[in-house]
């Protein structure tokens, strides 16, 4: 029981308080916290991207692409978090989305697979556009 627990004299019950480390009690809780935390590095990377766009807007003389090892490591870490974030989001979409085709409910598995398929197509298209413009 947590030290923060309180005993109620009026109703003669004891209510255990939830400690700050509740999310370390179970693997599922821990993964949930990681899932929620992935938003933070993604937000940081996007803030950096906004700054880069601002610099690029000031003309070629003010812009130079970042290439330090620290930046590459930061970007790779952000990529891993982004992949995990996308994986959890698309997996949960199968739980949330529910609709019928020809009066039959579409199976969750099919919805999840189609989401991952669209993700792959979008990644290929965006990659091709970026590489195409880069040349």
């Amino acid at each position: 029981m947590s030290a923060g627990a309180r005993a109620s004299t009026a109703t003669k019950t004891y209510r255990p308080a939830m400690g700050a480390g509740w999310w370390t009690r179970k693997r599922h809780y821990f993964l949930y916290m990681v899932r929620e935390f992935t938003a933070l590095p993604l937000a940081l990377w996007l803030l950096w991207l906004l700054y880069e766009i601002y610099r690029a807007g000031r003309g070629p003389s003010a812009f130079y692409p970042p290439s330090s090892t620290a930046f590459v490591v930061f970007s790779v870490i952000c990529l891993l978090f982004a992949l995990y974030h996308s994986y959890t989001f698309l997996s949960l979409a199968g739980v949330i989305l529910h609709f019928k085709v020809l009066d039959k409910p579409v199976p969750s598995r099919l919805i999840v697979l189609s989401q991952f398929g669209l993700w792959l197509v979008a990644s290929v298209v965006i990659g091709a556009v970026l590489i195409g413009f880069g040349r």
Binding site: A7, M18, K26, Y29, V95
Partner: protein
């Protein structure tokens, strides 16, 4: 051959004497491979310590009375087999997130009030007299809500929900799943009566989709799915033209 034994550590709390709960160990015979934690508690009550308090009734996963925390996980003790834990000891404590009344018994009042608040019954705008016949449903219409109607009110989902643990004003998984069960029922016309409760600030939007409620549910209800789908449906009702019409 030496008798097989197992150690059960049960929470003890006497509101007249104790300032906080404590654990008490019982070393009991593990005589039958089909023994469950509830059998162990019944053995302790009958042969070792008659003062141990806990709830139980049907012994077959239907009544939902014997939910407790077994080695940190909310479970129906009638479905938690000793063989899955032996030779380790088993710690049995009351369901998390609820006030403890005595030993393994928790106060269910908050849950019962929440259950009642979502009006878990068929609501009709115009009652039809019994003589007019039954309300007919197709199998497809039943399939729409069948999963969410399996809830036995065991409260394991509340014990597993950290959102409810941190803020007990949250309506909670089982109540929202049951509201969805009635809202999806083709005979029901009460969604507008339930929306003020389920879509309130202490309703479904409190849920951050931890998902543990669905992991511990012994009947496969999947309350997390019910909550997320209701979030989507209530948003659609708000956003779409004519979304709020009956």
């Amino acid at each position: 051959m030496a008798e097989k034994r197992i150690t059960i550590r049960a929470t003890r709390y006497d509101p007249e004497k104790d300032s906080a709960p404590r654990l008490q160990s019982y070393d009991i015979p593990f005589s039958d491979e089909s023994m469950v934690v509830l059998d162990a508690l019944n053995y302790i009550k009958s042969h070792v310590d008659g003062s141990l308090s806990y709830r139980w009734s049907c012994r077959m996963g239907i009544c939902g009375s014997c939910g407790m925390t077994v080695n940190g996980t909310p479970k129906l003790t009638c479905a938690a087999f000793l063989r899955d834990y032996w030779p380790r000891s088993i710690t049995v404590s009351p369901l998390n997130n609820f006030p403890i009344v005595r030993d393994l018994v928790v106060d269910m009042e908050d849950f019962m009030n929440k259950l009642k608040s979502i009006k878990p019954w068929i609501i009709r705008k115009q009652e039809v007299p019994l003589g007019a016949g039954e309300h007919r449903q197709t199998m497809d219409q039943i399939d729409d809500f069948r999963q969410f109607s399996q809830c036995i009110n065991c409260m394991l989902c509340y014990a597993a929900c950290p959102v409810y643990g941190l803020d007990d004003k949250f309506l909670g998984p089982a109540a929202i799943a049951l509201a969805r069960r009635y809202n999806l029922d083709s005979r029901d016309e009460g969604i507008k009566d339930r929306l003020p409760v389920i879509a309130s600030s202490e309703g479904l939007w409190e849920c951050s989709f931890v998902g543990e409620c669905s992991v511990v549910c012994p009947k496969g209800v999947d309350p997390a799915k019910a909550i997320q789908q209701t979030k989507l449906d209530t948003t659609m009702r708000f956003v779409l033209p004519f979304g709020n019409r009956e």
